[in-house]
Symmetry: C2
Subunit: 509 residues, 2 copies
């Protein structure tokens, strides 16, 4: 594929990386992968009583990773490597210096404290959510906010703490850009939601009813395989909150199954496949350095959202999927047309409280609530005591909804319990980028045709060339420019939404 | 329970252990548990392509563990701790000095090489076994033998290398004792096998036929729960070669399921439960030091064998189990008597090639073959080229069998592929101890009565007091004396076997 993008000269990179740097980074990368693996295990496999040992393991490994980043060994290896005009050297040094500098600022006692708090708080959150009782979680959340404020202050006390934390998930996009995007969306989207509410178009779902869980799991595995994740490089498990871990070698995705609504498993599977395909699409030879590391969460989410929304929500996707479902569910989808399925899956959900079940339009209003509240909590502009009120106010003003339970409110997401403040915005940034990638890919690939031919490899190949194989060679804005020809922007997404609103609801904005 | 055994004074131990020693050992123990966890994952969960990353993780962690053992930090903490007349201090120092001294002898480059070879060789073994082709595995085995010889030589070049390696699995029993036990068994057991072969008693199994795999898994989970492993502290998975990992906090056992022979899943589940119960029976508060570590493999295997043979093979166990099976398999066991089940499960398998499927009598002949061959390979008295011949000769002379395939011959066990030379004898030593424990428990507990009342806790409680809670406070011989009143010996086992032969085959020895 001649895409005008300079190809990665892996041999050159490997040859000139010095040995000490390589061995240091291999240790660092192996630790990070072990941490990820232990988190995956905690979410999917670990018996409850295993927690104290898991805490000890994660705490030890987190400290080790920080010790390597702040070590004399890395400093020496890095100094002797950075003297070069080579563009690739510059990229490697840029990314390593960035994480090294952050690590140096945080005292290792604080790192350990945060790691312990994260491992434990998740379990408290799980209990609070089950008991639908915010008070169980409140003190822990306060402690977590305070610890993360300490981390931010240690790294850079001249800037707002939320901005500093955000950079752990997306280091190359300015907070100003983030604010601008959310301001734009919280202005534009409620208007559109209002118009849909006035419409009397009905979009009955052929995916609600009663669908055997095991058969759904088989379907999900089939989709994974068709999209490019084989049993050799991936696995599927179930978890309450779907997520993905992965390296260039293998990836593990999780999905959730609701027997009364099959769309939950299908959507989350396709979404997590996007993450997994990115992981195994990274450069195996450079697994241990920034050239083989994913370009952080905006780009990661652009991949999951691309597959979920810009492949999985097309009518053509149901031309592929309905026969598959018909085989697994013995003819139950005989009468369903791809148009019906398309309309159902693109329905705007007017009374949904749950972010992960939201449609493409309301999703970003859910994220906006979390961005604004997370920012205010961390920046000291909102007390945990006032959190529920702030949540409910925004649910009302953005979505016109008032949640009755905390399970369907502030306790629905795992992120804050895991200490991931600054993470939420990347969901929206990634979705914006997904829409831009969707515009760009149409110049090269007949996406509908490829899907109907089950030639997902053509679509994957495009992303592999434009996104995956670059690792962190380019910064996020550089990668966005190189892949889409422009800057990160909202209008590709809005155009996409408006086309759907027109198509499904006959609404013109 | 007043058992005359001095109770562990945990508070005292914790109070007087110095802080630096505690933090060093916590790191060490967390690493060891992470290594075990990653091995478990490799056997049960990992997609095949994950191997290079797994290798990097295990290699890093193995080196880290060795670094801690050989560190100035441990040395200093240990020296300041060992100045004491306290018996518990002595035990802690004795065990730590032992592993410290071993670690100090092995160059860390060799440790890394061995770790890499182990991770890779298992995968080659898996392929060779699948293809039933020894030649696929031969070179790797030679390399492994040679690496393990290097390790033994580095630790102590004045003794036979097999003896040195054996001490990694059982540090406190002399090789002379091991040789004596196997000499005794290879003399006594073939005679008994001959007598059984002459008998015309038939022992048809009610457990062969066709039994749904998922239902078998449910039964296995039920047995686990009844024996004392709950979903809070344990989990069950499937693997080709059943095994257990665990800590005082949680344990994970695996079993294998054969739809045509349910006894495989039942036996291996009860066996692995014994390992798991020992793990979670260790002292939680001392998880990070020898007082909370298991007393090596002889004692571990005494626990698994006790539950498998001295609980699971009793007629009373089937008074408990048959109603359970009947519930799960809808009355299919209505007509089966516990006597029939007892006879079937205690049948001597005259033409079985597979160690893990052997009965209590022939099992130790299978182990003897592996002990003798492993010893000869490592001590340089047998070349890998002559391995198959040596194997077949012993199969013929001990068991009267000639294997047709390598899958049913030298490739059946994972141990050598994992570099575990010196491991096999502990299976037999543990079984001898299990029979001694079985004699001893009868003085305190009505075992048949407890089983019929489903009061497994009474049996577990005895082992907890006599074995589990001591960790490594006593050496293996001390623990054996304290728990059974005598030395490790063969005759408790032979008496047990002879009673069974009499009972089932009407054979008197």
């Amino acid at each position: 594929m001649d895409d005008g993008i300079p190809s990665l000269n892996t041999a050159h990179i490997k040859g000139s990386m010095n040995e000490e740097l390589e061995s240091t980074l291999k240790d660092y990368s192996a630790i990070q992968a072990a941490i990820e693996q232990l988190h995956w295990d905690q979410e999917t496999m670990m018996p409850k009583n295993g927690l104290p040992m898991r805490k000890a393991q994660l705490s030890y490994l987190t400290e080790e990773a920080q010790d390597i980043l702040t070590s004399e060994r890395l400093e020496k290896a890095l100094s002797s490597y950075e003297d070069s005009d080579d563009e690739t050297h510059h990229a490697v040094v840029r990314e390593l210096r960035r994480i090294q500098e952050r690590a140096k600022q945080v005292p290792s006692a604080l790192t350990k404290k945060v790691s312990d708090a994260e491992t434990e708080t998740v379990e408290v959150w799980r209990r609070a959510r089950k008991e639908d009782d915010f008070s169980v979680f409140k003190d822990r959340l306060e402690e977590m906010v305070s610890l993360k404020q300490d981390v931010a202050e240690a790294i850079d006390d001249t800037r707002e703490p939320y901005e500093v934390l955000f950079e752990a998930y997306e280091p190359h996009i300015e907070m100003e850009t983030v604010e601008r995007i959310f301001d734009h969306l919280t202005k534009e989207l409620p208007r559109r939601l209002e118009r849909v509410k006035q419409s009397d178009v009905s979009t009955p779902s052929p995916f609600t009813g009663s669908f055997d869980a095991e058969t759904q799991e088989q379907v999900a595995k089939g989709i994974m395989a068709d999209l490019g994740l084989s049993p050799e490089n991936s696995r599927l498990n179930l978890s309450t909150h779907p997520f993905t871990v992965g390296s260039p070698f293998e990836t593990r995705i999780t999905t959730r199954i609701d027997e009364s609504d099959m769309m939950k498993a299908l959507s989350s599977t396709v979404h997590e496949c996007g993450h997994g395909l990115y992981a195994v699409g990274l450069d195996e030879d450079n697994w241990w350095n920034p050239l083989g590391w994913d370009r952080d969460l905006t780009v990661h989410e652009s991949q999951s959202r691309f597959w979920e929304n810009h492949v999985g929500h097309r009518q053509s996707f149901f031309d592929y999927l309905l026969p598959v479902l018909n085989r697994h569910f013995r003819g139950e989808f005989d009468e369903v047309t791809s148009r019906e399925a398309y309309e159902a899956v693109n329905a705007v959900k007017e009374d949904n409280y749950i972010r992960t079940e939201a449609d493409e339009l309301t999703y970003h209003l859910h994220v906006a609530i979390r961005f604004e509240i997370g920012r205010d909590l961390i920046n000291g502009d909102l007390a945990v005591d006032d959190l529920q009120e702030a949540w409910n106010e925004r649910m009302e003003s953005y979505l016109g909804l008032s949640p009755d339970t905390v399970k369907e409110g502030v306790l629905q997401d795992i992120h804050w319990a895991q200490g991931q403040f600054g993470y939420f915005p990347t969901y929206t940034l990634g979705s914006m980028l997904a829409a831009q990638l969707n515009e760009a890919i149409e110049d090269d690939v007949d996406v509908d045709g490829a899907i109907r031919n089950e030639d997902f490899e053509e679509i994957l190949g495009w992303h592999s060339q434009r996104v995956h194989r670059h690792g962190q060679r380019l910064t996020t804005p550089e990668l966005i420019r190189s892949a889409t020809g422009g800057e990160l922007r909202v209008d590709a997404y809005l155009d996409h939404i408006d086309a759907k609103l027109h198509d499904v609801y006959d609404v013109r904005m």
